[in-house]
Amino acid sequence: MENTANVIEMRHIIKEFDGLRANDDINLTLKKGEILALLGENGAGKSTLMSILSGLLTPTSGKVLVRGQQVRIKNPTVAKDLGIGMVHQHFMLMDSFTVLENIILGHETTKGPKLDFRKAFQQIQELSQRYNLNVDPNKKISEITVAQQQRVEILKVLYRGADIMIFDEPTAVLTPQEITEFIQILKELSKEGKAIILITHKLEEIKRVADRVTVIRSGKSVGTFDVAGVTDNRLAELMVGRHVNMRLDKPLATVGKTILQVNNLQVKNNQGIMALKDLSFNLHAGEILGVAGIDGNGQDELVRALTGLQHVNTGHILINGQEMTNRKVREITEAGVSCIPADRQKYGLIMPFSISDNLALQSYYQAPFSNHHVLHHDVINSHANQLIKQFDIRTTSSSVPVSDLSGGNQQKVIIARELSRNSDLIIAFQPTRGLDVGAIEYIHRQLLQERAKGKAILLISYELDEIMQLSDRIIVLHDGNISGEVMPKTTSDEELGLLMTGVKKEGSSVA
């Protein structure tokens, strides 16, 4: 019954961590020359399953067959010898090493005791040309772009002679143009006979490249389908396990008065480099302004300057017409600014504190939460219980430390705290990062509700889909400047992608 056309068969894979089943009886087959998508939400067990295949984890039970032979992949070296290579979501690269050193590490060619750099250089050049993966082998990783770093990862896998390649969320860090190039590379590789597994939660990508798709949900396999014969909505339902409304109802914006005014803002980052260079924009009540851009183009500094965490060098920030430049954090907060920070565990929450205490972080010093510096825990707790109900935070009690909550519920704690303060301006920085589809949907609805209440919302996100779905207007940040302002209805991913890489919009008024 062995089917030799299947290069990989995983049968009844179970993997337990401290009694929790990350993989619960999963089956998967991969055929030669095909691109198989592995679809599932965050935490569904995709990465665990692939770590088993690449030898980083060993399954609790179940069988793995490679080219019809049952194998035990004890460590990455065994996987390498079987021709299995993985491109990880977080690149496994040494920043201070050269591209060449990164590629050869663990699979070095030597001449006597010495590394044979020349031979390796030639081999890498050959591979680069054959698969169209241009990158300078002598550059350091810290000197090249993220897309180039991904090529290094692909070259690493090819250099080891892999013909089974696993890609873990490969497009998460790429611009739309880079995604198109990447998809081209994938197709090229499969044409050369490589079998490819693509881990993703983006339905659109699956439609573009994959032949078949295997869906897993909470550690169990839901099924495998031909991509051509299944709709996006159906896939989303299979992934989440219930009906998902993919389209958000977004009524027209009723734009009110100007809430936030940013004039000629210049901000230096912690290294003393000018991170925001002459930034100006306005934000009105009842409006969502999306800030698109690649990570590291001034988004951090913008949020930090607006919330008073970073010194503004020149320029002005006005909130409700009031000068708020370089004011204290608490003054800004009390002037009506709520912020959902990008890193919820580092800036949004105090992890060992209870849900109640975290919900009171912005108001504990005021009545009725405290009097004469003494906290009233009964008030803090009843306030927390009310918000837990209102924002549907899933927990057994308000005294549970937030570190025990799931990512989605942690984010709900922040949302509850910030939105319940009824501020005029809401800064949402990557509000759905790392969350599953259900939680994303919930947070998007909350933001739209606030918009309907007439709040001004600044949405900074690296997820273009999110920006496109929610924003009424979009500005694109590139290298500390606004490289263009567009409307979501009239723009395209391609145009945004170009603006994100700094290509100025034609006819825009930038001198």
Partner: protein, 318 residues
């Protein structure tokens, strides 16, 4: 004293004081490039110094001139065994590297002094009879001026240290082993995914620092102090650590930095024989090497970049 004589004195004493620092800082370079911070170098030097002196006192009469050289090896091996504590604590038990290193530093002096008391029944040992000699480089010593300054009456272990530096630099940057060792200090998780044995490499890194730190302590004891007491190793391990940082975690850099610190130390010792310096009160001269160490650390510690994962534990998931 004429200029050549002054330079000759300065160079030879700089080299003598640098040698222990070179060996020990090279050990630090290997440990930290593998990802294990090692502030226990001071304690490792103490153990190397103690064991080499004990060996020298016991075997000098039967082994003769070769004794101090074998003493170096003994000091190195004892240092290596002592560093095993640090390796087990940090690599297998994921202890904080600084705390584990501090344990070595706190443990070594009382242990060594206790053993001295138990074995010799006094607070410090006798002076050794077989010390390192000086030699003239055949051929090179005859070069006028330069030969007199650099190659006459020179200190043999220093030249060993320089050769070891070059070999260790070559291993670290030109061989497969070196690439893998550095990868563990840079990104152990990534190293693991390409099949590098992170724990194994880190053991090699730490034990190398034990071997070289032990040799460093032995050189100091057998060439400079001549006996072992509680005040034999007082800060040289930390100076070697500073030299490693100043030298940017590179063997060649660490060697040059060690020569600089050796120069600072030797100035404080021979300053009273030198014109100009002999007017400075000796207490300032004695403070100088430590003050310079602190200043260098303040100026360079923030700027020079350590291996990215230096000091981070790596816990392999099963």
């Amino acid at each position: 004293m004429d200029l050549v004589a002054i330079l000759s004195l300065l160079v030879s004493s700089t080299i003598v004081y640098s040698t222990p620092l070179i060996f020990t800082s090279l050990g630090g370079v290997y440990s930290e490039n593998s990802g294990i911070t090692n502030i226990g170098l001071e304690g490792i030097m103490t153990m190397g110094a103690f064991s080499s002196i004990m060996f020298n006192l016991t075997f000098a009469s039967s082994l003769g001139k070769i004794t101090p050289w074998i003493g170096l090896i003994v000091g190195g091996i004892v240092g290596l065994i002592f560093s095993l504590l640090h390796a087990v604590a940090t690599i297998n038990f994921h202890a904080d590297h600084v705390i584990s290193g501090t344990v070595l530093n706190l443990m070594a002096p009382p242990l060594a002094v206790f053993l001295v008391k138990a074995i010799y029944d006094k607070g410090q040992t006798e002076n050794i009879s077989q010390s390192f000699g000086y030699f003239n480089f055949p051929g090179l010593a005859d070069i006028p001026v330069i030969g007199q300054i650099l190659f006459q009456n020179t200190f043999a272990p220093a030249w060993v240290a320089i050769i070891v530096t070059i070999i260790l630099w070559w291993i670290l940057y030109k061989t497969r082993f070196g690439l893998r060792l550095r990868s563990c200090g840079e990104n152990p998780q990534a190293a693991d995914t390409v099949g590098v044995n992170v724990y194994g490499m880190r053991y090699v890194g730490v034990l190398t620092s034990g071997l070289l730190g032990g040799i460093g302590g032995a050189v100091f004891a057998e060439a400079i102090s001549g006996n072992f007491s509680i005040s034999t190793i007082v800060g040289q391990g930390f100076m070697a650590l500073a030299a490693m940082i100043f030298g940017k975690w590179n063997p060649l850099g660490a060697m040059l930095a060690s020569l600089f610190f050796g120069f600072a130390q030797s100035i404080s010792i021979i300053g009273n024989q030198l014109p100009l310096f002999n007017h400075i009160p000796s207490v300032y001269m004695q403070i100088a090497p430590y003050a310079i160490t602190i200043i260098i650390l303040v100026l360079f510690f923030g700027k020079s970049v350590a291996p990215a994962a230096d000091g981070q534990n790596y816990i392999k998931s099963k």
